[in-house]
């Protein structure tokens, strides 16, 4: 059974149709990617899944239970962690405390949460910044703090919104290795929105393509990047 089943969801912002009849599903333990041009509705789709917006129609099931209409905090407690495309760190708190807040979702014991937070920071190569205030980090580092925070909540599904943006190729490869390792070791299911195709091709087993709020293609990475519709609207002919 699929861990996440999105069926026919739609979302309008006044006259703008941001999402229309979008359906896809992610099996337990898989890594899927969502790609598409800017304004395609990828982040809106994340926000609908994460409970920021209520879908106008359709249904979302997580682990067999309907989750559409729940609040963001309820969705998180149900087991879906997310990052924000425009990062929202807790600037006045230290990097460690940022992640401790996430870890407290899984335990009420602060000492235990601190240990767990430290473990996640080490995993994401942020341990040496643990005492720094989050406001002092560079943008790629802040994106990693977002990932760490979301991972610390103990999710079964992780939604990553452009966490590789602004990274150097070697850093992208590092992050790819981290996600692959976590996925293999813990069976964490991942859905990532990403423009960095280097990461998408290395990580995703399956790609969903959105364009003007509609799903125009999906399938195995090689199939999708050779799909003429995808080439036309997003990747460009030269990708061939």
């Amino acid at each position: 059974m699929a861990l996440l089943e999105v069926e026919g969801i739609g979302k309008h912002f006044r006259g703008l149709r941001a999402l229309h009849e979008v359906s896809f599903s992610i099996p337990q333990g898989a890594i899927h990617a969502m790609i598409g041009p800017n304004g395609a509705g990828k982040t809106t789709c994340f926000n609908v899944i994460a409970g920021v917006y209520k879908p106008d129609g359709g249904s979302i099931r997580f682990d067999g239970k309907p989750i559409d209409g729940l609040r963001p905090d309820q969705i998180c407690r149900a087991g879906i962690g997310r990052t924000f495309q425009v990062v929202k760190p807790f600037p006045g708190l230290s990097v460690l405390d940022n992640v401790v807040v996430g870890a407290l979702n899984a335990t009420a014991d602060v000492a235990h949460a601190r240990k767990e937070a430290m473990r996640v920071l080490e995993l994401l190569h942020l341990a040496d910044k643990a005492r720094h205030p989050a406001a002092s980090l560079t943008l790629p580092e802040r994106k990693r703090v977002e990932v760490a925070r979301a991972m610390a909540t103990g999710p079964r599904l992780l939604l990553l919104d452009e966490v590789m943006a602004g990274l150097r190729p070697t850093e992208v490869d590092e992050m790819v290795a981290v996600f692959r390792r976590v996925n293999q070791e813990t069976g964490l299911t991942i859905l990532l929105i990403e423009h960095v195709m280097r990461a998408v091709m290395a990580l995703a087993q399956h790609i969903v393509v959105l364009h003007y709020g509609e799903k125009i293609s999906e399938g195995a990475p090689q199939e999708v990047v050779n799909d003429p519709k995808v080439l036309e609207c997003y990747l460009g002919e030269e990708a061939l």
Binding site: R77, K88, F90, D97, V101
Partner: protein, 332 residues
Amino acid sequence: MKLLFAGLPQRALAALGLFLLLLLVAPWVVNGYILSLLVVMLYFAYAGQAWNVMMGFTGQLSLGHSLYVGLGAYAAAMMFTKFGINPWVGLLVAVATTTAMGVIIGFLAFRFGIGGVYFAILTIAFSEFVRIGFDHWTWLGGSGGLFLPVANLNSNDLLNLRGAPVMFYYVMLAMCVAALAFCRWLLGSRLGYYWQAIRENEDAAAALGIPVFRYKMFAVMISSAMTAFAGVFYAFYYNNLFPEQIFSMGRSIEIILGPMIGGLGTLFGPIIGAFVLTPLADGLSELLQWVGIDVPGVKQVFYGVCLLLVIVFLPHGIWPVLARRLKLEREH
């Protein structure tokens, strides 16, 4: 107990101990005027600590904390003068009253997403409503005021809070220490982490599984409940209550100046702020009177100048800078 002091360097513990010792012996050394000043300082340190839970920890700006002081004061004074019930039992009624008020304001604001400046205005509006209500509530004296029977200053009756200033001093000192320990415990708990997360970014807090509405309600409830004691103390120390004074916005501002100047969201900010501002403002008025200048509102002007100086030169308040200079910061 161990948790409260965890991570504090030795010299910070020593400084804290010394400070407490000084406060403990102070009444035997100082004269009556200084003692009365110390009582006021402790009063503002306590009320500032309570307000800091809402603004400093959770980021919800209340400009109407005089409402909770006033309600607490009237609740306990009513129980005492009308029914002969001692202030410690009256405190329970006071806490219930202020918490209920906090729940009403919090529910209205947080359920409907009223934040920032609009929340601040709502808190002012409520404290004005209640002030006008008490102005017309003749059973509790109305605008003419409610008076407590003045006690014989030679015998200290702790149960009924009737006695000499020195007794009030120790009561307030004990409450300040208790409030400090309580806030330290809150800040180190899951509650404290969640409050700070909400203060820093509500959307991110919700995405990490924090039920934002519920935790904001906890903040307003704990803050208003703590403030109730400041009111009870005020009623029994001054023995007179006028709606015009106790519910006034000026009183709310006086409460929040301490933590703002001392350091928002810090544990010692409210204490440092109150200990710096109160004697300076009072000393200045005394000095001006002594040289024969009697300018009305000089205290307010002084507060304004202090606030300006702190905002310009110490935007995070006095305490963070002081703690760094004296190497008193907590190690993680």
